[in-house]
């Protein structure tokens, strides 16, 4: 998000010289063009998807397009068994670890904030949580799972879901 914002703000000419991809665009492209083959049966457990603030709501507000539907399309390609959290897309809750708070001493606040998200995930009954953001991933996998007794929840990057579904 910082790189994209910085390119637009300070290096608009560079954007005329080279193209840019988000992970969403590139994964969709590979699957649509048939460059990677996916086996849908490898993730049978009930899955759910977390919209990160940066690539959903904030992309929508800053760049005019939120990546809401692309990851959902990718989920559809990789699993038959997934549900949305509620609320989602523009009204989702943050994982609690955005804005750099992971690197500050405000752990109690970060974990408290994440509790809101954990309520949603528990309500969905998901066994597999898919996230397309490095910070969200660490917040769920290293912190919230432990703090909220969710050790059985499997947390996966969106690109890991794809990589683990690839038929070579």
């Amino acid at each position: 998000m910082a790189t994209r914002l910085g390119l637009q703000k300070w290096f608009p000419d560079a954007l005329k010289k080279f193209g840019v991809y988000t992970v969403f665009d590139l994964l969709v492209k590979y699957i649509k063009e048939g460059r990677i083959k996916i086996d849908k049966s490898r993730h049978p457990q009930l899955a759910t998807y977390h919209d990160p603030c940066n690539y959903g709501r904030k992309s929508e507000m800053m760049f005019g397009h939120g990546y809401y539907e692309e990851p959902r399309w990718i989920m559809d390609q990789c699993t038959e068994n997934w549900v949305d959290l509620y609320p989602n897309r523009g009204y989702q809750f943050c994982c609690g670890s955005g804005g750099g708070i992971w690197l500050t001493p405000y752990n109690k606040e970060r974990i408290g904030h994440g509790g809101k998200k954990i309520e949603q995930i528990k309500a969905a009954g998901a066994k597999l949580l898919v996230v397309p953001c490095h910070t969200c991933y660490d917040q769920f996998n290293k912190s919230l799972k432990v703090e909220y007794n969710m050790e059985d929840l499997e947390v996966k990057y969106l690109w890991a879901l794809v990589a683990d579904s690839i038929v070579l």
Binding site: M1, A2, T3, R4, L5, G6, L7, K9, W10, F11, A14, K17, F18, G19, V20, Y21, T22, V23, L26, L27, Y30, R35, I36, K37, C53, N54, Y55, R57, K58, M61, G90, Y91, F93, C94, G96, S97, G99, G100, I101, L103, T104, P105, Y106, E109, R110, G112, H113, K116, P132, C133, H134, D138, Y157, W159, A160, V162, A163, D164, I166, L168
Partner: protein, 231 residues
Amino acid sequence: MEPLDLTKQPERMLDLKPEWANICFSCGTCASGCPVSGMDSWDPRKVIRALVLGLEQEVVDAQWPWICTMCGRCQYACPQGVEFVSLIRYLRSHRERDKVPGTLHKGVMAALKTGNNFSIPKDDFIFVMEDVAEEFAEEEGLPDFKIPLDKKGANILCTLHGKLPYGQTDDMKFWWKIFYAAGEDWTLPTENWEGVNWALYTGDDEAMKTMVGRIVENMEKLEAKNLLFPE
């Protein structure tokens, strides 16, 4: 604290844009939808009211602008279009740099000095990449897999989240597998490969611009056609 004299315009320390405070009609939609309302006894609405009343230093000194994760839920719901996310960043930029909480600013300084947030030297980086690539090729049974470091003219240039070479090396293998399967022509620079810019969070425009500029330099130097963001 002294009572406020509302008959006078408060003295201004900050250069507040109207869309950061004055257009607010104090409805409280922001605060009601904010997951950290009440923490450290602040909330989004209270921040705006305090700024309007001239309590600028109090807001800059508060922990709350750093507890807020800049998630933008308040801004998304605001009927008046208050630009809360850029306001929080602006408030953070007014914190003295040695009082920026945690390791955020230290990471920015490290990135400016070494090209990445964790100060990983170039030789160590190359060693880790080649070592993990060898491990990956063995695990997946792909003896022809090579890590394309500093390759010129590639279709895709990647930056990396600093945590990956620093300590979560297994997490790099997913994209390697996808690139291998897709037959992608890609590369990873061995200098200034950091894809995470903490200056976005500390409100440091100059540092943010320097780091983005280095990515542009890598794109030009390696004549790459497309840049892939790390998330």
